[in-house]
Symmetry: C2
């Protein structure tokens, strides 16, 4: 890096100073930090006018593609730049006993149906699976009536909402724990899938020779009174993209095995499986609020 | 700034590394620099999830407001963050003899009418003015047939295109220098005006207690064969916002005085002024390409 010429350093100082009267001290800190790093970036790489304009166009296209429902290209951009995982890590520093967190992602839809214990949320084909376990507090005590909001893609790699062929409630649902903190979700095994590549983020990945794949996972948002809401995924332990997740979301503690079970397994009758199915078991641990 | 925890530093490393295979070396440098500074910003201010989401929404709103004609909210954002002036400075380091540059701004419209020497480009009220001078090369020789693309706001502070009351060609035009490098533009004295405050950039300025005003100026893009295109403004020398231009665009060498002239001034007859007018004179110096 070359020394920054005095007139350029002066522009950066002026810009940082201009935000010095921001009444809210936290906003002032964030804005001045942002301006400082934005200018340091431009100075360090000696950004050309063409590159600046390409950046303006990239951001404009990214905004234009956001539809307010399931397409949020700026979240996707934050995800592939690793910013989402960094913010997640910064905000979950003090929870060593609790289940690890990962990115929220842009495909959550609120208000999906509440489903009964073990109820099937899959209305599209796939390998039948049961995901069961408990929700515990950090002392290991089960939490009754915890809410698990769950979502995943269909076998074609698309979330409902992205894909007009699927009913909106497909592979989405809210489950509650019973008196012993137990939950059971009947679904299909998650598959790996590429994030949307038809927009600016896809062009960015292509230009940087990165693949767009996420390893197979099931999304969870777990809520219980008096506890901090947990946003995480469970990843299939044998997925080929675990090491190179395009959004950097994988943590070892979030891998689960989907065990093969026959139609004679005791859970088959209880949850209405007429043939073989896969069984994954995981206990979530919530931190006190 | 606290020490960055190891797991957070690891996420930032992974993200920078992920762009390490970018085939174009310049793009690789820019992307890795961007990721590096973006992560350093988030780590330094310990960005919260709410702040991150506010940022996502801010960028989304900014993109939505861009209309591809005269409203380019991302350029406006770059302007008020001082980034546009910094990029301008980085890209015009080696032109000490040449006229200084300033921001392009988001309000330029291409293809405006070519006008004759001294032709009036004002079709809305204002204080009549003549802006005249020469276009020179860096050796001081006049450049014939140079093109000056000129634009400014009306007295209401709005550019044509922003304001449906104005014809699109109002206060816009392309002028050519004569055989002695001379140009003359009949117009009205520029006024100071606030940048658009009805969008995310306006909210940002309000939250940071910054005014939205730009000092009065006339925009120029000056082009001549064999020379580097010059993008600049001429600022009214006595404007109250010269020191606090919201986009940091002012340079001392770009200030001009609009001298009062009577109807008996020799130029009045030549350029058809029937009453008093103001006269500003400026020579532009272009750098060889």
């Amino acid at each position: 890096m070359n020394k920054i010429p005095a007139n350029e350093a002066k522009i950066s100082d002026q810009a940082v100073t201009a935000f010095g009267n921001t009444p809210n001290p936290r906003l002032r800190q964030v804005l001045q930090g942002l301006v400082c790093h934005l200018h340091a970036f431009a100075s360090e790489v000696e950004l050309t006018e063409e590159e600046w304009l390409a950046g303006i166009r990239f951001l404009t296209d990214t905004g234009k593609l956001c539809d307010g429902v399931v397409r949020q290209e700026f979240i996707l951009l934050s995800d592939v730049l690793g910013l989402s995982m960094l913010v997640d890590a910064i905000n979950h520093r003090a929870c060593e006993a609790a289940t690890e967190t990962t990115v929220f992602g842009p495909f959550y839809i609120a208000g999906m149906p509440e489903r009964g214990q073990g109820e099937n949320m899959a209305f599209s084909p796939g390998e039948p699976a049961l995901v069961q376990g408990r929700v515990l507090d950090s002392a290991g005590q089960p939490i009754a009536n915890a809410l698990l909001d769950v979502w995943q893609t269909a076998e074609n790699g698309m979330y409902s909402g992205q894909d007009t062929e699927q009913p909106l409630a497909n592979l989405r649902g809210r489950y509650r724990t019973d008196g012993e903190g137990r939950f059971a979700i009947r679904t299909i095994i998650p598959v790996s899938y590429p994030i949307p590549t038809d927009g600016p983020v896809g062009r960015l990945l292509q230009a940087s020779d990165r693949h767009p794949w996420r390893p197979a996972h099931l999304h969870f948002m777990v809520m219980a009174e008096g506890h901090r809401t947990l946003v995480t995924h469970l990843f299939n332990h044998d997925d080929p993209y675990l090491e190179t997740d395009v959004v950097f979301g994988v943590k070892d503690s979030l891998k689960v095995v989907y065990q093969p079970c026959g139609a004679d397994h005791p859970l088959a009758a209880r949850y209405d499986f007429s043939g073989p199915f896969r069984l994954a078991t995981y206990d979530f641990v919530l931190e006190r609020a």
